[in-house]
């Protein structure tokens, strides 16, 4: 049976008061993977299956909205129903659910597994930091910036909300990052936003590759390979000569087509997500099952979003189906 959200934190507090509370089982594992992976495996059973997506593909937008109320997302949908409508409601609910689920995993994972999960989820901190800097760069309103955050990383929602409230331009926004590992990186580029963004992304990969276990490193290497291939295709489309990079065999992946078309993008996305889905099915005492779950969950949310957004904006059914990784 799965423990409710925040149960462990509350239990820990209670444990201090009442020594007899049976929470000590959490501390017996050396790496924490046995416990974390078992809990994640239970959570995995609640993920939507192939049939659910096929069913959703044959539904109209309103039917999908009703169907979503019967799934794991109903809590978030009810929570956000007063703020958003239609496809926006479902999409923001999906983001909120992703945030809640990942925070829950962070809360119950421990020792090595906690560290690895934290490392992987750092990408949300980077994404939020970029959104925050971008928003302040173009002078967006507080609400517009805050509503785009998906706070599933180590830096909480409070941190980013305070940072948004206390800054009004890019320089002030960079100052708000003081105390985090991103401050020095952001400060280095004299307000050149695209360079700051790229430096933050590179920092994420370098940092994670340095600290992560081999299983997570292997997955991230694949992710880097995919990103490099995609960026090469983007550069090729624009007409930028990148012979030096192109010749490096490391960055090369066998693609179905040579241009930056949707076929290649979908192929690379499927390449990465299928690896994640495969990992989620494994029974090992390492980071792979939990990492697999994180990827599978992201993929589930991505699939639902593609169907919902595609249906609400009347995209051709073939195009929607092409984008799904089931």
């Amino acid at each position: 049976m799965e423990l409710p959200t925040g149960f462990l934190e509350k239990a820990e507090k209670r444990e201090k008061k009442h020594w007899f509370f049976p929470i000590s089982f959490k501390r017996k594992s050396t790496s924490g993977y046995a416990y974390t992976n078992t809990r994640v495996r239970v959570m995995k059973t609640k993920l939507l299956g192939k049939n659910d997506f096929r069913k959703m593909m044959n539904m109209s937008f309103s039917e999908i909205a009703r169907y979503m109320q019967e799934t794991e997302y109903s809590k978030e949908i009810s929570e956000l129903a007063t703020r958003y409508t239609n496809a926006n409601l479902i999409e923001y609910s999906l983001n909120k659910n992703l945030e809640n689920t990942f925070n829950r995993i962070l809360a119950f994972s421990m020792k090595a597994s906690e560290e690895q999960v934290k490392l992987y989820l750092k990408k949300f901190d980077i994404l939020n930091a970029k959104t925050f800097l971008r928003g302040r760069f173009s002078g967006q309103g507080e609400e517009a910036i805050i509503s785009q955050f998906i706070c599933a990383g180590s830096l909480g929602r409070k941190f980013f909300e305070n940072a948004v409230k206390k800054s009004s331009n890019l320089d002030e926004a960079i100052m708000q990052l003081k105390g985090t590992e991103y401050f020095d990186i952001a400060k280095k580029f004299n307000g050149n936003l695209s360079k700051i963004e790229d430096a933050l992304d590179k920092h994420y990969y370098r940092d994670v590759l340095e600290k992560a276990e081999p299983e997570l490193v292997a997955f991230l290497m694949d992710e880097i390979k995919v990103k490099n291939t995609l960026n090469l295709l983007r550069a090729k489309k624009t007409g930028i000569k990148m012979e030096k990079i192109e010749n490096e065999s490391e960055t090369k992946l066998a693609l179905p087509k040579t241009d930056d078309g949707i076929e290649n993008r979908v192929f690379l996305k499927k390449f990465l997500l299928e690896r994640g889905n495969k990992m989620a099915r494994e029974f090992k005492r390492n980071v792979r099952p939990v990492l697999g779950y994180l990827i599978a969950k992201e993929n589930e949310i991505s699939n639902i979003r593609i169907i919902v957004r595609g249906k609400s904006s009347n995209l051709p059914a073939g195009l929607i189906e092409e984008q799904l990784v089931i």
């Binding site: 970029k130 936003l193 695209s194 963004e197 933050l200 990103k227 983007r234 489309k237 930056d260 593609i306």
Partner: protein, 237 residues
């Protein structure tokens, strides 16, 4: 402006001219004009000027119509380009929102610099001032847009690129459609002037000139008749 006075229908010349002037029931209106030689000379000068103006305005109207049709072609093309590119841009942004998520797409949009630098000039088409919009707007390469390369995708590039194209189309469409509207107003105005000259001012002045010359001839005949009568009387005495 011409003021009109009323004359009774069965009075001499007015009866003969009744078809050329306003005919309200039995009352005919004639222009308030003095049948003098100087008035005739003035009228003839005015007619000459009006004829010259009329031919000039006709040429202007024809020129404007020609320019209008040329601009219409451009406007049709820019409108269809705009519609086509807008639909493509909408599909691209919908797809980007579906695949990458609204949060990612909106976040990337925050990083874009406001770049549509527009300068407005004017162009003279047959005396009609039409706008000429210069823009330094161009479709940017994906690494020059302002957002980072690593954290964004090709879907966002497509959405940004297609919207940049739409922006270019909007500028062109704004220029051609404003020109078209201004030309239409100018054509309408010129057409009304040509028609007014052709069917109202010139015919009225012609008939006035005719009226004055006929009156002068009649006065001449009166004078000759009077002179003859005086001569007869003086011979009889």
């Amino acid at each position: 402006m011409f003021a009109f006075k009323s004359l009774v229908a069965n009075q001499g010349f007015a009866t003969r001219q009744k078809t050329k002037f306003f005919n309200v029931g039995k009352v005919i209106c004639l222009p308030e004009i003095k049948p003098t030689r100087s008035e005739l000379i003035k009228l003839k000068k005015k007619i000459k000027l009006a004829d010259f103006g009329h031919s000039l305005l006709k040429k202007k109207r024809d020129g404007l119509v020609k320019e209008f049709f040329a601009t219409l072609k451009e406007a049709k093309k820019s409108k269809s380009d705009l519609t086509e590119n807008y639909l493509k841009a909408k599909t691209a942004i919908d797809l980007a929102r579906a695949v990458d998520g609204t949060a990612t797409v909106r976040s990337a949009s925050f990083a874009l610099k406001p770049k549509a630098n527009i300068t407005l000039e004017t162009r003279n088409v047959m005396g009609v001032i039409v706008p000429k919009i210069h823009s330094q707007h161009r479709v940017e390469a994906f690494h020059e847009r302002g957002y980072g390369v690593i954290g964004t995708s090709g879907y966002i590039d497509d959405a940004a690129e297609s919207h940049e194209r739409v922006l270019g189309n909007i500028i062109t469409a704004a220029e051609t459609e404003t020109t078209l509207k201004k030309l239409l107003v100018a054509i309408d105005k010129t057409k009304r002037r040509v028609n007014a000259l052709e069917f109202n001012v010139i015919p009225r002045m012609n008939s006035e000139a005719k009226f004055v010359s006929l009156r002068l001839e009649e006065l001449e005949r009166d004078d000759i008749f009077r002179l003859k009568k005086i001569k007869q009387k003086t011979r009889g005495n």
